[in-house]
C-alpha cells in the first residue's frame, strides 16, 4: 500500500507544491468544478420533475473528473465512463448539447439513441461510453496505437470506476497498453462503490498495485484534491508524450449520492460513512484555499452559483421545446446506407401507423 498524492488537505491547507497556475487559471478550475456541481443538482431536479429519465452524478468527485482532465491537451482524447460529462463541458461540449443529450431530443448529436448521461463530443475527442462496463479500455489502447502510428502526440486518457477493474476490458486494456508501451493514461475513479458493492469487495489487492502486474507505473491520488489530480495527470501525460508508455492513476474519492437517480443507497451504506466524506468535499476545500490566496473573494462562490445556474437554465430552456427524433431515424445509422430490408421494415411500420394510428408511449421507468 502506498500513500496517496495530496497537495491540498481536506481542510484546505496546502501540503504539497503550489501548482504553476496563475490566478485566472485557478479561478477557471474552480468555476469548472462548480459548474459540474450545479449541473448535477439541476439535472436531479429535472429528473424528479419527470423531465429526464436518469441521472448519474459526479457529485463529490468533481476534483477527480475536472482536476485530472484539466491537464489534458487539446489534441488528447478522453474515453469516458458514466460520470465524466462535466469534463467534456470543460473541454468544449456546449451546455446546450449536454442538456439535449439528457433530454435525448432531436438536438442530441447521438440522435436520442443513448440513455441519459452518455455524452459525446467529437470536437474535443470525447467518445461516449456504451454502458457496458470496461469495454472502453481496449478502445483507448487501440486509438493510442493509431495516434502513435501516425507520429501524433495525442495521449489517450481512459476513465472507469473501481467496479470496472474487475472487467475483462480492464485487464486486456492494461496488458496491451503495457506490452505495446502506448500513450495511455488509465484513470480509475475509485468512488467507493459499484452500485451497492463496496470497492473493497472488488479485489483483495490495492487498485494501484494492479499496475505492477502489467509493468505499468501506478499511483494513488487523493481524488478530492483537485490540484493533486491535475498534477498526477500532468505527470502521466508527460511520460506518455515522451514515449515512456502508459500509467495508471487511482483517484480515491466518494460517490456522495446513489449510483443514479433511481438508486437508494441507504439500503446498503451508513450515513456516518457518507458524512465522513462530506467533510472532505473537493469544492469546499478548494474554495477555502482559493479564498486564502485571494483568488476568490468572500462570498464569490454564491454569486458564481447563481450565474452558473442561470447559464444552465438558459440551456435547459432552449432545449425544452426541441422536438423528439424523427421516426425515420429508427432505421438510420445501422449501416452507412439504409439497406433494403430496413427500408421495407420501415415502410411496413409506417403503413400500420397509417391504418391504426401511431404507437403510444409506455410508462416503464428505469430501475437504476
Amino acid at each position: 500500500m502506498s500513500d496517496s498524492l495530496q497537495i491540498l488537505a481536506a481542510d484546505g491547507t496546502l501540503v504539497g507544491e503550489r501548482p504553476a497556475l496563475d490566478d485566472s487559471a485557478l479561478h477557471d478550475l474552480f468555476e469548472h468544478m462548480l459548474r459540474v456541481r450545479c449541473l448535477d443538482e439541476r439535472m436531479l431536479k429535472l429528473q424528479r420533475a419527470g423531465r429526464v429519465g436518469f441521472v448519474g452524478t459526479v457529485l463529490g468527485s468533481e476534483a477527480a473528473a475536472i482536476g485530472s482532465a484539466s491537464a489534458l491537451a487539446r489534441e488528447d482524447w478522453l474515453w469516458s465512463g458514466l460520470r465524466e460529462g462535466g469534463a467534456a463541458v470543460m473541454r468544449g461540449l456546449p451546455l446546450s448539447e449536454y442538456v439535449a443529450q439528457m433530454y435525448c431530443n432531436a438536438n442530441d448529436t447521438a440522435k436520442g439513441r443513448q440513455m441519459c448521461n452518455h455524452f459525446q463530443h467529437k470536437g474535443s475527442h470525447y467518445p461516449s461510453w456504451s454502458s457496458v462496463i470496461g469495454t472502453q479500455m481496449p478502445h483507448a489502447v487501440g486509438a493510442a496505437f493509431a495516434s502513435q502510428s501516425r507520429g501524433e502526440k495525442a495521449v489517450h486518457a481512459v476513465y472507469f470506476g473501481d467496479g470496472a477493474t474487475s472487467s475483462n476490458g480492464f485487464h486486456s486494456g492494461m496488458n496491451f497498453a503495457g506490452t505495446w508501451k502506448l500513450p495511455v493514461v488509465f484513470v480509475c475513479v475509485d468512488n467507493g462503490w459499484a452500485i451497492s458493492v463496496p470497492s473493497g469487495n472488488q479485489t483483495e489487492g490495492e487498485y494501484e498495485d494492479k499496475g505492477i502486474a502489467y509493468g505499468i507505473p501506478a499511483m494513488k491520488i487523493d481524488g478530492n484534491d483537485v490540484l493533486a489530480c491535475r498534477q498526477a495527470m500532468a505527470d502521466a501525460t508527460e511520460r506518455a508524450r515522451a514515449g515512456e508508455g502508459p500509467s495508471l492513476l487511482v483517484l480515491k474519492t466518494y460517490r456522495m449520492l446513489g449510483h443514479s437517480s433511481s438508486d437508494d443507497p441507504t439500503k446498503y451504506r451508513s450515513e456516518e460513512e457518507v458524512q465522513s466524506w462530506r467533510e472532505k468535499d473537493p469544492i469546499d476545500r478548494f474554495e477555502i484555499w482559493l479564498t486564502q490566496e485571494g483568488v476568490l473573494s468572500e462570498g464569490e462562490r454564491k454569486t458564481m452559483e447563481v450565474e452558473l445556474t442561470e447559464e444552465i437554465d438558459n440551456a435547459i430552456h432552449e432545449q425544452e421545446s426541441a422536438p423528439p427524433m424523427a421516426l425515420k431515424t429508427l432505421v438510420e445509422d445501422v449501416y452507412e446506407d439504409v439497406p433494403t430490408h430496413l427500408k421495407r421494415q420501415y415502410n411496413a411500420f409506417a403503413s400500420v401507423a397509417e391504418r391504426y394510428g401511431s404507437a403510444t408511449v409506455g410508462d416503464g421507468a428505469f430501475p437504476l
Binding site: M115, I133, S166, S167, N201, V352, Y356, P367
Partner: protein, 324 residues
C-alpha cells in the same frame, strides 16, 4: 395462494428453492444487501446468509465461469446477470463451456445451473438495457432457454429450471415485473419445462409468443374478437427444447399463424417457428405465416415504443392472415 407480481413470484421461487435444497446459492452483482436492481433477490441474504446469497466482483465472465465450476462440483448455482445486455462478457463461458460440458465429457461432468437475467424493452433503457437475446442462446445446443410470462409460471418454471440437470438460461421479461399480477401457490411447485401454455383458445388464427409479448398479443386478440376473429394464443414458455409437436398441432388447428417477439426479425425465434411449420404442416396452412418483430436495428431509446411490437402491429398481422 398469494397474489403476486412477476418479480415477487421470482423472489418467492428463489426462496422456495433455497429452502428445499441447501446446495443452491444465488450470486451476481448487487444481489446481496441491495436485493438486486429490480429487487428479485430481496431478503435472500437476510434469510440464507452471505454464504448463500452474495455479491460478486463486476465480471459476468467470472460469475458464469465460477458457476460452472460450482455446478460441476455438486452445488446448484443460480447466477444473476443484471441485464441480459451485459451477458455478452460471459458469452464464451455460456456457449463454449456451460452448454458443452456434458457433451464433451461424455456425460462425466455436467453444469446444472440457472442463469437468471432480465431482458427486453419498455423501461427507457436504451440500447444496452433493453435487448432480447433469446435467439443467440436458443441457437446454442446444450443450453435450455426459458421465458415466463405470468407470476405462476415464473415461480414454477424457475423451480423446474433449478431442479433441471442441465444449464438453463432463465430470461425474465422486465417489462412485466410489476405490470402483471396473479395467483401463485405457496411453497414449492414446478411447471414442467418444454411445455406450452394455451393463453386463449380460438379457431381462426394461432399466435405464438412468449414473455413480455404475451399481454400485448392478448390485447390484440381481444380487439380482433370484436370483429369476430378468434385467436388461439400459445405462450411458448420454453424456447429450447421446444415442444415441437404442440406447436405443429396449434398451427394446424387454425391454418393461420402469426409469431410475435420483440427481438430483431432476421434469424429471430419466429423464423424457426415459421420454418418448422413450413417443413411439417404446410399443407394445412391457409395463409402465409406472418412475423411481428422488432426492427433489424439496435434497440432505440426515445423511440422504443415504435420499435416494440404493440397491439396495433399484432392486430394488423392477425387481420392480414385472417383475410388472406
Amino acid at each position: 395462494m398469494a397474489n403476486l407480481t412477476l418479480i415477487q413470484a421470482v423472489n418467492d421461487g428463489l426462496k422456495a428453492a433455497m429452502r428445499d435444497d441447501p446446495t443452491t446459492l444465488v450470486f451476481g452483482e448487487d444481489v446481496g444487501p441491495k436485493g438486486g436492481v429490480f429487487l428479485a433477490t430481496e431478503g435472500l441474504t437476510a434469510e440464507f446468509g452471505e454464504e448463500r446469497c452474495f455479491d460478486t466482483p463486476l465480471s459476468e465472465d467470472g460469475i458464469i465461469g465460477t458457476a460452472i465450476g460450482m455446478a460441476a462440483n455438486g452445488l446448484r448455482p443460480i447466477a444473476e446477470i443484471q441485464f441480459q445486455d451485459f451477458i455478452f462478457p460471459a458469452f464464451d463461458q455460456i456457449v463454449s463451456e456451460a452448454a458443452k460440458l456434458r457433451y464433451r465429457s461424455g456425460g462425466q461432468y455436467t453444469a446444472p445451473m440457472v442463469i437468471r437475467t432480465p431482458y427486453g424493452g419498455g423501461i427507457r433503457g436504451g440500447l444496452y438495457h433493453s435487448q432480447s437475446g433469446e435467439a443467440y442462446f436458443s441457437h446454442t445446443p446444450g443450453l435450455k432457454v426459458v421465458i415466463p410470462s405470468t407470476p405462476h409460471d415464473a415461480k414454477g418454471l424457475l423451480i423446474a429450471a433449478i431442479n433441471d440437470p442441465d444449464p438453463v438460461l432463465f430470461m425474465e421479461p422486465k417489462a412485466l415485473y410489476r405490470s402483471v399480477k396473479g395467483e401463485v401457490p405457496e411453497g414449492s411447485y414446478t411447471v414442467e419445462l418444454s411445455t406450452l401454455r394455451t393463453v386463449r383458445e380460438g379457431k381462426d388464427v394461432t399466435v405464438f409468443c412468449y414473455g413480455a409479448m404475451v399481454p400485448v398479443v392478448e390485447r390484440a386478440a381481444a380487439t380482433a374478437a370484436e370483429s369476430g376473429i378468434e385467436c388461439n394464443i400459445v405462450d411458448l414458455r420454453t424456447l429450447m427444447p421446444l415442444d415441437e409437436e404442440g406447436v405443429l398441432e396449434a398451427a394446424k388447428s387454425t391454418g393461420r399463424v402469426v409469431t410475435v417477439h420483440e427481438a430483431p426479425r432476421f434469424c429471430g425465434y419466429g423464423a424457426e417457428i415459421s420454418a418448422m411449420i413450413a417443413e411439417n404442416v404446410i399443407e394445412y396452412m391457409e395463409a402465409p405465416i406472418r412475423r411481428v418483430t422488432g426492427f433489424d436495428t439496435p434497440f432505440p431509446n426515445t423511440l422504443e415504443h415504435h420499435y416494440l411490437p404493440d397491439e396495433r402491429r399484432v392486430l394488423d398481422a392477425i387481420e392480414a392472415v385472417h383475410s388472406f
